[in-house]
Each structure stands twice: as C-alpha cells, then as structure tokens.
C-alpha cells in the first residue's frame, strides 16, 4: 500500500530501517501535479536532480508535452527511489510564466527584446574588438555548477584554446573549491575518495560543517534509516547550529565559527596521543606524519576548548569515537569550506583518515562534498580554475597532452600561471582589465560577498556583461546582453554527483519560446568566432550533446576521471555509474584508493601543492623531494584567529548558510509554490539568551549590520550557539519592488550585503562564515513570526513560538516500497523524448 506524505512537513518521509552491511531498501517517491492520474502518464523521461549535489535519479512524467511530475528511480545506486523536497517540487519552476523566452540587448540604458542573431553577433563583435585592442586577458567567463558536462567542456575549450584566456571559473569557487583543493593537497589530485554506499557500512559517521539533512536530504534519509535499524552508527556532528544532524548526533560540537582548524588539530592530537593510529598504513601510503605529530603536539583539548568554546571533555568524547571506529566515514561541507582556514581544516579531515588507515574500504572513506548538482563536472572539465581532466598546469607534459587532444600548440593554452579564480576575475573587472564578462547560470549579484561592491562592478559602463540564464535575475538586470537558456528537462546531457556517479538527463519537453540549450549557445559563439585548431580545422568539432560527450571522453582518457567506458546508451535505462569507468572497469569504480594512492606521483599529480597558510604554490622540485613515490601527503597547519572578530561595535559573529527548501538564489525554488511557502522570505536566527539580553522576541523585524552593509529580516529565536547570528543567503531582490538591489524603499534583504571580501589563500573560496555584526530591532513583531521553517535547523527554541511548517494537500507525495515496473523501462521512453 502506498503511503501519502506531506513532504514539506516531513521532508525526509517515512522510515525504511535497515541494518549495517545490509542493502538500503527501495522506497519510490512520486509526486504528480494535481489532477494527473498516474495511469495517464505514458512517458517517463530519465534524469537526476539538479537542486543539490546528491544526484538523485528520477524520471520526469510528461503529459501532453508538459512536465506533470517526478518519480524516483528505484534501481539507482544513489537514492534507491527516494526524492527530497526540492526534487519533488522544484520541476514546476520550468513552466513559470516569467521564463526568459527571447534574447535581450541593452539599448539606451534599457534591456529590449531582440532576435538571436542580433544578440549573439553583438557578443561576437565585442569579443573581436577586445581581442584586437586588449588581448585575450580582457575577456572572462564566469560559469556555474548547474550546467551539464558537455556544456562545461565546450566552454573550457572555447575559452582556454579559442579565446586563449586564463579567466574561466565557476561559482563552484563558492561551493566546492576547497573540496577540490583539499583532495589535491592530500592525494595529489582531485577525485572523491569515498562512496555514498559507505553510509551502509560505517560504524561511525562524522559530519564536519555539513548539514546533510538539508543539503543532501536523501542521504540523510539513509542515515535516519540506519539509526532505526540494527547496529546503528555513532554520529559526530560539528556545527554551530542545532541542525537535524546535531539533534541526532552522539556527540555534537558547536564551535565558535572560524576555529575549525583548532578543533581538528585537537582531535588529531588526541588520536595520536592515544596511539589510535594505523602505523602500517602511514608507513606504506603517506609522507608527512612526523610533521603532523609535531604540529599538534601541543593542541590539547584544553587548548582548543579555549579557542573553540567547546568543552574539552566533549572534544575527548568525539576523539574517542573517531579513534575507535572500525569503519569511519567523514563528510565535509560549507561549515568548513566557506570558513576561515578552509583548506587547512578540510585537509585535517583527510589526515584523520590517512593516519587511521580509513580509506578505500566499505564504510571507511572521506566525502569532501559538493554543493551544486554538476559542480563535479565544472571541476573535471576545466571550467573552474583547473585544466580539463585534472591536468597539472605546472606540468608541461600535461599541457602538451591537452594540446594534442585539442590539436593546438601548447602555448595556445594559458598555463604560465594558474587559471584565474572568480574573486580575482571580479577584481580585474573592477580595475578595468577585464572588459567582457560572460556569466552563465549563476547570479553573482546575490551570491557573491559584499554585494554593493559586486553591483558596482557589474554596473560599470566599460564592462560588457553577458548573462545566460532562465530568468531575469538580479545579475541579468545589470547585463548588456541577456540570453534565454533552456534548462534541465528541456535539453539532454550528463552530470556527475558528489560521489562520482554519472547520470544521463534526457530532454523531456521543449524549452519555452526561443530559449536555447547552453550547449547550442556556446557552439554558436564558437562558430561565429571561427576558432581554429593548429591545422586550420575547426577547434570544436562536435555539434550536439552526444558528440560533445564523446569528445570529452577523449579528453578524459587515461586521466583519473576517465569516462571512456561510458556511453549515452549505457547510461540510459539503468543506474548511474561512478567514474573512472573504462574498458577494464565497465561498471565504474565504487571507491578510489582501495590499493594505495594512485595519482600523487610527481609525474601524474594534478597539483604540486600549496602552502596552506599563504597559498604559495610549490614547484615540482619541492614536491618531488617531499613525495618522490607518490604517496598521500599529510599536511599540517597551525591555527590562526579569524580575520574579523567581534568587538564593542559589532558584538556578534555572523554566518550565512542555506535551508532545506531553497537552492542558491531561489531562481527555481521560489517559483515552486510548496518550496516557496515553506520559507517565503529572509529571516535572522539568534540564540534565546542573546534575544533575551536585547529584549528581542520571535518575529521582531531586526537589522543585521556589518562594516560592509545591512540587511533586515524577522527574528527566529533558536538553539543556535550564543553570540552567533545566522542568515540564509538565498534571498535577493528580483521579487521585490527594487529589482536588483536595495534602494530607498527596499532595505537590504540579501545576506551578502553584509559579508566580507576575503578568501582562503589555498582554495580561493570566499569566506561566508566569519563576519562580525551588530543586531538591532527595527520594529516589534506583535504576534508575527519569522518566515523560517520549523522542520530544520531553523526550528524555534520554544516549540510554540511559530506554527509548524506544513505543505498541506498540495505537498502530498506517495512513497511506495515497490519498483513501478509497469512503467519501469524508461529507456524507450527516454528515446521517445529526443
């Protein structure tokens, strides 16, 4: 019997308990639009979720050429049929009436509709002009973690070998740059060591700054199911907020933001002091242990307790769990990546696993997570600050190999310095050396730190801004040319989740109006620019998603992210497949480093490493002398205080973050009614003791001010650590009178009005977790309450302070223990859709 569940009120749905080492039971989640009879759905089109990094496999129901609902894919390794709230409801945004349907160009200060030829020729003409007058360094591309692999790869080729610019990065800089950097530092190369299946086998799970319940809700369902089954895992949670994970944790550490490294060094100190160390593993597979042991020798729990404001006894309890685990799985996300000493701290989690020998076995692994659905592909394809295929920009033979794949001279590909990271690109635009910035699938006017600065950069007359998106976002409103893009469900391509699982996403419906797939837009630009290889042939030889995928396979061949064993046909119908996937490993690779470290040799590695404190790059000579045999590198680092500390004028720490029901800047989730209603407007979280001290209460309109700016929202009093404020970063201005930023009538609403321009020196990831702020009341709530969910980390400290978040009848989804085999083979259906 199928159960019907309000998946706004109960985001993780019903439990399917299972024991350790058992397979996770199937539960197929389905949501269909009101009035759609499941039996009437003739076509289910295969895809996976795009509103987080989990890669939940699903089918889109198509009725009369329109999307009518979604259903989890029972046979997929990632989700075993389950879907999260954003998966269930987010698809509705595709059909929003305010989708962009025609290109826009700026005329007389206003954006006006035009045809594609006008818009794209304007971009090509400006590009040619800039190349002639100022050279390739005057053109930059800022992309996303939300396009498809084929699109990133095409963009990487046209930017790096066509234009010849270093300036190509993704908003993945904000979400996953530290994950990549930490993996490069420890293992010489990017590539997720672990697998989601490790959740089935671990006896201890440690989550560092990772509110998995809200960011990857389907994997949290998996943990919840294990917590209800036999031989439950112990959970260690490091998070300053009372997240759902913290509430279920065996040990919850709520450190002062900005002190992750001190906390981790103390945990490592305890593990080394108690000799819960795998000396054989260290000897066989690592270098640098002695340096770590020396570095953390004095990092006692008492020392860290003073810095982190966490009881030393609690640190010892956590170290006891980490040190005695038989199979330990650790995960890391924004609480580390977007915080002070990001890479240094993330690397210590790798070190924990290296010194305990907890890698490459079921249940023993590290998941350095991603935030966005296709961030992994941005990294692999070189559309972020790396070369495609995890090639090393400092290694001439890697560059020569890439040049061979592209049939260009190696000097065509800028590799005299690392590819420019996003924050530096905006600095170059600010200084006027970048004159054209092409922004695809991201909304920096809401998502980057210190928004008044970002708006002023984007609004410059001398900067030609191209925005390629679904809606007239805050950023698009500042553009010179706006290109309407097709999105998920309206185009075909592949993407890869945080545990290296590659999924195919087939086109289900037509894009609205004249909107075009991003791939077509890039291919059209390449054709207009007439990019050539060294023999005078076209630089880009592919013409559609599948031929682009085949081209990428050639680029990935022999690299860690080898896709050569995959085809669209193999990905259609069954489960997603984890790379590397080759002729020798046709079913993919569940875990990396099952038999030692494979990509750290000086001749193979993606990076020779950086100084974790200064960001200075090491060279091959230094790396070779440190690590001649290509083992894992145990890198130690000393704690430094955060750059901005509370003082009399700004007595609070301020952290920004996300909520379960929204994704990024709400361009899609605010247009899905159930998701929007669950968290319709911004709010501010403070602790009960701080609220009491300031005489504030639930629902008061408050203002949060930092040296950069201010934002307003209603107050939610929670069990967050005292002294800390939290603001969700999703909210901007497109749904306010002001349009793209605050004005005289619209006060600041975006969290990033307040954040600081500062980044981790190694990963260049901006810091959103450590600002100092002051809080004041603007007006009393008088019975109102904050528009914050009660089901999440935002739950009120006093349960009756706000009505419970529910979705009502419109949020009912079904949960079935059965695979829907009557319509199960979406292979043929998928092909119908194309």
């Amino acid at each position: 019997m199928d159960a019907s569940v309000d998946r706004i009120a109960r985001p993780w749905g019903g439990r399917t308990p299972y024991g350790r080492h058992e397979p996770w039971p199937v539960r197929v989640d389905t949501f269909l639009a009101a009035g759609v009879d499941p039996a009437a759905v003739r076509r289910w089109v295969q895809t996976a979720s795009v509103l987080h990094s989990d890669g939940d496999a699903m089918d889109i129901a198509v009725v009369d050429g329109r999307m009518a609902g979604v259903r989890g894919r029972a046979g997929d390794r990632v989700n075993h049929g389950r879907l999260g709230p954003k998966d269930l409801f987010g698809w509705q945004a595709n059909a929003s009436a305010d989708r962009l349907t025609r290109p826009l160009v700026r005329e007389g200060g206003r954006l006006v509709e035009c045809d594609w030829a006008t818009a794209t020729e304007r971009i090509a003409a400006r590009s040619r002009e800039l190349l002639d007058e100022r050279g390739p360094g005057s053109i930059g591309f800022y992309t996303t973690g939300q396009l498809f692999l084929e699109e990133y790869y095409t963009l990487a080729v046209l930017a790096r070998a066509g234009i010849g610019t270093s300036h190509l990065d993704g908003n993945t800089r904000l979400c996953t740059a530290t994950a990549a950097e930490a993996l490069k530092e420890s293992f010489g190369c990017d590539g997720q060591p672990g697998s989601y299946d490790d959740l089935d086998h671990a006896d201890a799970i440690a989550l560092f700054g990772h509110n998995i319940a809200e960011t990857q809700p389907v994997q949290w369902m998996r943990i919840l199911d294990r917590l209800e089954g036999a031989d439950q895992p112990r959970i260690v949670c490091v998070d300053p907020r009372p997240t759902p994970v913290a509430r279920r944790a065996t040990v919850h550490l709520a450190p002062r933001p900005g002190t992750n490294l001190a906390l981790l060094n103390a945990l490592l100190h305890e593990i080394i002091r108690t000799d819960r160390v795998d000396h054989d593993y260290i000897e066989a597979h690592t270098v640098g242990f002695e340096e770590l042991a020396t570095r953390v020798k004095d990092s006692t729990p008492e020392w860290a307790a003073g810095i982190c404001d966490v009881p030393a006894a609690l640190l010892r309890e956590a170290a006891e769990i980490l040190g005695t685990a038989e199979r330990l799985l650790s995960t890391v996300l924004q609480g580390v990546y977007q915080s002070h000493q990001a890479t240094a701290a993330a690397v210590q989690v790798n070190n924990l696993h290296l010194i305990r020998g907890m890698l490459g076995r079921p249940g023993a692994g590290v998941l350095q997570m991603n935030g966005q659905p296709t961030a992994q592909n941005t990294r692999e394809c070189g559309a972020d600050g790396d070369l495609p295929g995890f090639r090393n920009w400092q290694n001439d033979s890697h560059v020569a190999d890439l040049a061979k794949v592209w049939n260009v001279d190696p000097s065509t590909i800028p590799h005299y310095a690392p590819p420019t990271h996003a924050m530096q690109m905006f600095r170059y635009a600010e200084q006027g050396s970048i004159r054209m910035l092409w922004i695809s699938g991201t909304n920096p006017a809401v998502s980057l730190p210190e928004l008044s600065r970002i708006r002023s950069i984007l609004a410059q007359d001398r900067l030609f801004v191209v925005v390629q998106d679904l809606f007239l976002t805050e950023t698009a409103q500042l553009a010179d040319v706006v290109l309407p893009a097709a999105t998920w469900g309206e185009k075909t391509g592949t993407f890869t989740n945080a545990d290296r699982t590659v999924h195919l996403s087939d086109q289900a419906v037509d894009p609205p109006g004249e909107a075009k797939p991003d791939l077509e837009i890039f291919l059209d630009y390449a054709a207009r620019m007439d990019f050539r290889d060294k023999d005078g042939g076209p630089l880009i030889t592919w013409h559609d998603p599948e031929s682009a995928f085949e081209a990428w396979k050639r680029c990935s061949a022999g690299r860690p992210c080898d896709y050569t064993g995959l085809t669209y046909d193999r990905l259609r119908g069954g489960s997603g497949i984890q790379w590397p996937c080759t002729e020798q490993s046709p079913d993919g690779t569940e875990r990396l480093y099952t038999d030692g470290i494979t990509w750290a040799h000086p001749d193979l590695c993606e990076s020779y490493g950086k100084d974790l404190i200064t960001g200075a790059t090491d060279d091959v000579v230094e790396y070779r002398s440190l690590n001649p045999d290509g083992k894992a590198v145990i890198k130690a680092a000393g704690y430094l205080p955060p750059h901005e500390a509370p003082d009399d004028d700004h007595p609070f720490q301020l952290t920004t973050g996300r909520t379960l029901y929204h994704f990024h800047t709400r361009t899609k989730t605010a247009r899905a009614p159930q998701l929007n209603a669950a968290a319709p407007d911004v709010w501010v979280e403070a602790s009960a003791s701080d609220a009491a001290a300031l005489g504030l209460d639930e629902g008061d309109l408050v203002e949060v001010t930092t040296p950069r700016g201010a934002m307003r929202g209603r107050l939610r009093v929670t069990d967050i650590r005292p002294g800390l404020l939290f603001v969700p970063f999703h909210y901007g201005y497109w749904d306010t009178e002001a349009g793209h930023g605050p004005d005289g009538d619209t006060p600041g609403r975006a969290a990033n009005e307040t954040t600081t321009t500062d980044w981790d020196p190694a990963s260049k990831q901006p810091l959103f977790k450590t600002a100092a702020a002051v809080l004041r009341r603007v007006e009393r709530g008088d019975g109102r309450y904050a528009p914050a969910p009660t089901t999440t980390a935002s739950a009120p400290a006093r349960a009756d302070a706000a009505p419970a978040t529910t979705g009502g009848p419109s949020a009912l989804a079904t949960e079935s223990p059965e695979s829907p085999d009557a319509t199960g083979d979406s292979r043929s259906h998928g092909e119908d859709a194309r």
Binding site: R134, S166, A417, T420, Q431, I613, A616
Partner: protein, 148 residues
C-alpha cells in the same frame, strides 16, 4: 604605457646594477679568492643579461641605454603598484633570509643553541614569505602587465 617595455627597463637597470655591485664586491675582496672569482663570474652573467636585454629592446624599437628605470619610481596604476610592492617585499624577505642564514651559522659556530633554535624556527617562515610574494607576482603579472 607598455608593460613589457616597463619590465625590460627595470630588468636592464637591475641587472646592470647587480653586475656593477658584483664587480665592486670582487674588487673589494680580492683576498677572499673564491668570492672574488665567483662574483666576477656571476657579474658576467649579469653583464650578459644586460646586453641581451638591450638587444631585445633594440629589436623592439626601445632604447634602454640612458633612461632611468621607471619601476624604481612608484607607478600610477594600482595593479602595477601592487607588483612593485610585492617585489620590494620579496627583496626585503630575501635580505632577512640571508641574515637568518648568518645567524644560524654563527649560532652553530659558537654552539649557541638558543640562537640556533631561534633561527631554525623563524627562517623557514621567511622562506615561506618569499615563496608567497613570488607566487603572487607570478599569478598577477600577466594581467597587470598586459593591460597597461
């Protein structure tokens, strides 16, 4: 302003100065034979660098003979000023590094463990400062100097 011309001038001036300094050191320390000979040899390198820089400049229509080195005056544009400052930081750090080297050596010669410990603790960080300035110059120079 052309970034390449600017750096060619600065390098030409710097190499020429270094050649003069090396020659002067070789002259002053004739009785320290190794220093005298090696400094003279190294002065040849810098002379050769100067000559090649001048030839290269000449081929590009730039006369380097008698103009002051513009990079020694604070430049106007912010990106260039940053490179200039990073360069100065690097040179200061290099100077400190050599002094740390001296301190470590005298500490060993006099068996002064406290001094040696001090130098051993601090000198690696001086070297990291130099690597940082070098990295920053490497990363920022292409854009700063091509966009002048």
């Amino acid at each position: 302003m052309n970034g390449i011309d600017l750096v060619l001038r600065a390098l030409h001036h710097g190499e020429s100065r270094l050649a003069d300094e090396l020659t002067a050191v070789a002259d002053r320390h004739r009785a320290d034979h190794e220093v005298h000979h090696v400094a003279t040899d190294l002065a040849h390198w810098s002379h050769e660098h100067t000559r090649r820089l001048a030839d290269t400049a000449h081929d590009r229509g730039l006369n380097l003979d008698d103009r002051p080195a513009p990079l020694d005056d604070p430049p106007e544009p912010a990106p260039l000023l940053l490179l200039y400052d990073l360069r100065d930081l690097h040179l200061r750090a290099a100077r400190n590094s050599l002094h740390w080297e001296m301190l470590a050596q005298v500490a060993q010669a006099t068996r002064d463990d406290a001094l040696l410990a001090l130098a051993s603790a601090c000198h690696p960080q001086t070297l990291r400062q130099m690597r940082w300035t070098n990295t920053m110059i490497k990363n920022l120079s292409p854009q700063a100097l091509t966009s002048l």
